[in-house]
């Protein structure tokens, strides 16, 4: 059970406080309700580029990192298709430096043209390092537009293409800040060894005078229901053929979301999962195979991916895979299998809750989704899932017309 307090400042900033008296540290986590899905299609990669610029100085502070390091702290940030999350971990007694820095960059940015130029290069190197210069690195750049035709999930957080980042102007970036970086679009979570009264007075002191801005209403194109099987083959300079089956699934707040999570675990979480045992160990068709869900806020994906063994064709794998998928639609998952999956979920939650930073990030994320209380309710919801529930969602999700298949073919293979 993760205990927390919650209040909202007059300017709309939501604050979550979680006390942990066993740690000498404190976490200041700021989640902004903006991600790559909020970009326009001709200017992708902006939310992420912007995250880099948030370290280039704010209205009253020339540079972000140095004062935080001076306080013994460190920080980082990440951008997803849904959100942008910034965190600072520092000794609890120096918390005020964290609030001073974070509130100033919520107030207004002040990065220089040089900073924009440098961060453009840094992000382009990141693009190369993660997506272009790795075997299979560009798979998601290909898979997204195969699955999503309307919804902005069709491009990756890093952007559709390097040119969008190269062409970003100062005006673009300023406009982005104005629209998305304000108190009503943020959730601040403070976690660690500090008193609630201090949290209230310190947040009022540092954030209270940031002007309120009306929250932008998000109006994203809805992805129409998929009605036909889609398939694409790309040839790459890789040593081994690889496959990615993507099945459309419900959004993060849907009541079936956690059930489909369990379904994906049954298919491919670990070395006791169905696909691992059948496709790899028994039939020896793949060298690796796994399944997971993307976990996005809007309608997401259940993905089954792996690499073929030498001499095995995509077709052989496909036949064997669909047989396994049909089993889940036709037969109930045995009780002991479901029990195993639930213990694993419970264990990973216990370990995830171990870390102070994890707790702070998760509280912020749940608050955005449907209220931070949910962080303590999911275990019970997982517990109530029955074999019949799994079968029901399997019948809806694991269907050919709901599936997009990306094959990566080794250039020199047959």
């Amino acid at each position: 059970m993760i205990k927390f307090e919650r209040f909202t400042l007059d300017n709309g900033l939501r604050v979550i406080f979680h006390k942990d008296a066993t740690t000498p540290m404190v976490v200041v986590n700021t989640l902004y309700d903006v991600g790559a899905r909020d970009e326009s299609e001709d200017k992708t990669g902006f939310a992420h580029l912007f995250e880099h610029l948030m370290f280039g100085g704010s209205v009253n502070i020339p540079e972000f990192d140095t004062p935080l390091q001076m306080a013994g702290g460190e920080n980082n940030a990440f951008t997803s298709n849904d959100i942008t999350n910034y965190y600072d971990v520092l000794p609890a007694k120096n918390i005020e430096t964290g609030l001073w820095l974070e509130s100033d960059r919520m107030l207004s940015l002040a990065f220089t043209p040089k900073s924009l130029e440098v961060q453009r290069s840094v992000v382009i190197e990141e693009f190369k390092q993660r997506y272009l210069n790795q075997p299979y690195g560009d798979v998601w750049l290909e898979l997204r537009p195969l699955v999503y035709k309307s919804h902005p999930y069709k491009w990756a957080t890093i952007g559709k293409e390097i040119s969008h980042i190269e062409e970003a102007t100062m005006d673009d970036v300023k406009g982005f800040f104005k629209k998305h970086y304000n108190p009503s679009n943020a959730i601040l979570c403070i976690a660690g060894n500090i008193e609630f009264e201090d949290v209230k007075s310190l947040t009022q002191k540092w954030y209270g005078d940031i002007p309120a801005v009306e929250k932008t209403v998000r109006n994203l194109p809805v992805e129409p229901k998929q009605t036909e099987f889609r398939e694409k083959t790309i040839k790459r300079k890789v040593p081994t053929n690889a496959f990615y089956y993507a099945f459309r699934m419900v959004d993060r707040n849907h009541s079936d979301y956690l059930t489909i999570d369990v379904l994906s675990d049954s298919l491919g979480r670990d070395k006791s999962s169905r696909l691992y045992l059948s496709i790899k160990k028994e039939q020896n068709l793949a060298s690796s195979i796994g399944a997971y869900i993307t976990g996005s806020i809007d309608e997401g994906l259940l993905v089954i991916s792996g690499k073929l063994n030498d001499g095995v064709s995509f077709q052989e794998l496909d036949n064997a895979l669909w047989k396994e998928l049909e089993l889940l639609s036709n037969e109930l998952v045995p009780a002991d299998e479901l029990e195993r999956l639930k213990i694993k979920i419970q264990t990973s939650k216990e370990f995830s809750d171990q870390g102070l930073l994890n707790r702070a990030m998760n509280l912020s994320m749940y608050e955005l989704l449907s209220g931070a209380e949910k962080i303590n309710e999911e275990s019970e919801i997982y517990g109530r899932i029955t074999p019949k529930d799994i079968q029901r969602v399997a019948k809806e999700v694991l269907v050919k017309t709901n599936c997009s298949l990306l094959k990566v073919k080794a250039e020199n293979a047959e």
Partner: protein, 419 residues
């Protein structure tokens, strides 16, 4: 209105509570360490074996590590995995040049049962032909994929030059070695380095005395009787070594030299120099090569420790067109440290940052256990960290310069690039 132009007052870190796990001695050289004070239901155990890469010919140690749960006379690999997974256990196994470690994370109520399964699996592994064949085929495929990564290639080439004087340490896996491995070699290695090779056991979790006693008993038959000796005589081959990789849009750079570990009197002060040069976001290398030039997504330096020696390393991946410029800038930053004294405000920044990070490294039972183990490996107690607090507080710019001149000589580095 708060004054936003002034940083709020800082409070210095003057002391840190370091907590040692309880030691249970299994033999003169082998102990079990138990960190009991865990406020939740989580737990972990680690089994350390004298079974690192350097203990076997070619890839043998790596293969035995990868096959350690591949089945016994009584149980298949699937059954062993099922025993662990059905109780929610997460398995993590790793091998380095000098040891191999097998860890399990699970809820504490299941730890005794999972521990027994794992110990039996390790003791009874039969290296059945089908399992070995499949594992080696996977290993080969993984190797082929890794070889497409400039970072992997540079790391391997760097190892060869760094450990040049010792072929057991400089060994890098080849397809030929995967193809020519024999089951009898695997069995012989297993007998010597696992059945009689347990060098350390670590438990984290609120476990009862009974549970700990049972684990101690279960470990006894496997205690290592091998001499606990590792070489301290390794020399790197200095010079510049370049490999082309067709089509690469980035080049990987690795450069460094053999250095020392916690047992050397210059270690702690050098660690401060290392942080300043390349081990935090505001470091000289990051500030210049990422934040000023935009050549890379990241660049870092580190001091890595072995049992009887250690090494210094700078690693980065940069745009292929700026490889030469990056090397020039790295050399420039090192020469700056040798020719000019570090300004006081920068030294204070590094000092405060390191103290904060040390505080964080001691936060919570898992982090604290790992911090303890890092000292224990070199025969040090937690006093090492109290001494570190003092060293960080009292380091001078002159001392930094002295160490930079002494240990960061460009012509002594092995410099490797791929891409």
């Amino acid at each position: 209105m708060p004054n936003r132009t002034l940083q709020p007052e800082l409070i210095a870190i003057d002391s840190i509570d370091f907590v040692a796990p309880k030691k249970h001695q299994l033999s003169d050289t082998v102990s079990l360490y138990h960190m009991k004070d865990v406020p939740d239901e989580t737990s972990r155990f680690d089994l350390y074996f004298d079974a690192g890469v350097c203990r076997g010919q070619k890839g043998i140690a790596t293969f035995v590590n990868g096959l350690i749960l591949s089945g016994t006379k009584e149980k298949t690999s699937n059954q062993i995995q099922s025993e662990i997974n059905s109780l929610g256990g997460f398995l993590d196994s790793g091998i380095s040049v000098e040891n191999s470690v097998l860890s399990v994370y699970c809820l504490r109520e299941y730890l005794p049962t999972i521990f027994k399964s794992v110990i039996h699996a390790i003791q009874g592994v039969t290296f059945e032909a089908k399992e070995v064949k499949e594992y080696l085929a996977d290993r080969k495929q993984n190797l082929q994929i890794s070889r497409e990564k400039v970072g992997y290639l540079a790391q391997q080439n760097f190892r060869e030059k760094l450990f040049a004087s010792n072929e057991r340490y400089s060994y890098t896996l080849s397809e030929n070695d995967i193809e020519t491995t024999s089951i009898s070699e695997l069995k012989a290695f297993h007998e010597k380095h696992y059945l009689n090779g347990l060098t350390k056991v670590v438990l984290v979790g609120d476990l009862s005395k009974n549970v700990v006693d049972e684990i101690l008993d279960a470990c006894k038959p496997m205690i290592s009787s091998n001499p606990d000796v590792f070489t301290d005589k390794i020399e790197n081959e200095s010079g510049k070594f370049e490999q082309e990789k067709e089509g690469a849009v980035q080049s990987a750079i690795r450069l460094g030299r053999i250095l020392f570990n916690k047992n050397h009197p210059d270690y702690m002060d050098f660690l401060i120099l290392n942080t300043l040069l390349g081990d935090y976001f505001g470091s000289r290398l990051m500030t210049n090569i990422r934040e000023d030039k935009g050549y890379t997504y990241g660049i870092g330096s580190m001091v890595a420790e072995l049992n009887s020696t250690g090494y210094f390393l700078i690693a980065t991946e940069v745009g292929s067109d700026v490889k030469t410029e990056t090397l020039k800038e790295i050399q420039f930053e090192i020469e700056q440290l040798q020719s000019e004294l570090v300004p006081n405000d920068e030294l204070e920044l590094v000092r405060n940052y390191m103290l904060g990070q040390l505080l964080k490294s001691a936060d919570g039972p898992y982090a604290m256990t790992d911090l303890f183990l890092s000292a224990e490996m070199h025969g040090k107690s937690l006093d090492f960290y109290n001494d570190a607090l003092e060293a960080i507080g009292s380091i001078t710019s002159e001392r930094i310069q002295e160490l930079a001149k002494k240990y960061l000589k460009w012509d002594q580095f092995s410099i490797v690039t791929v891409g």
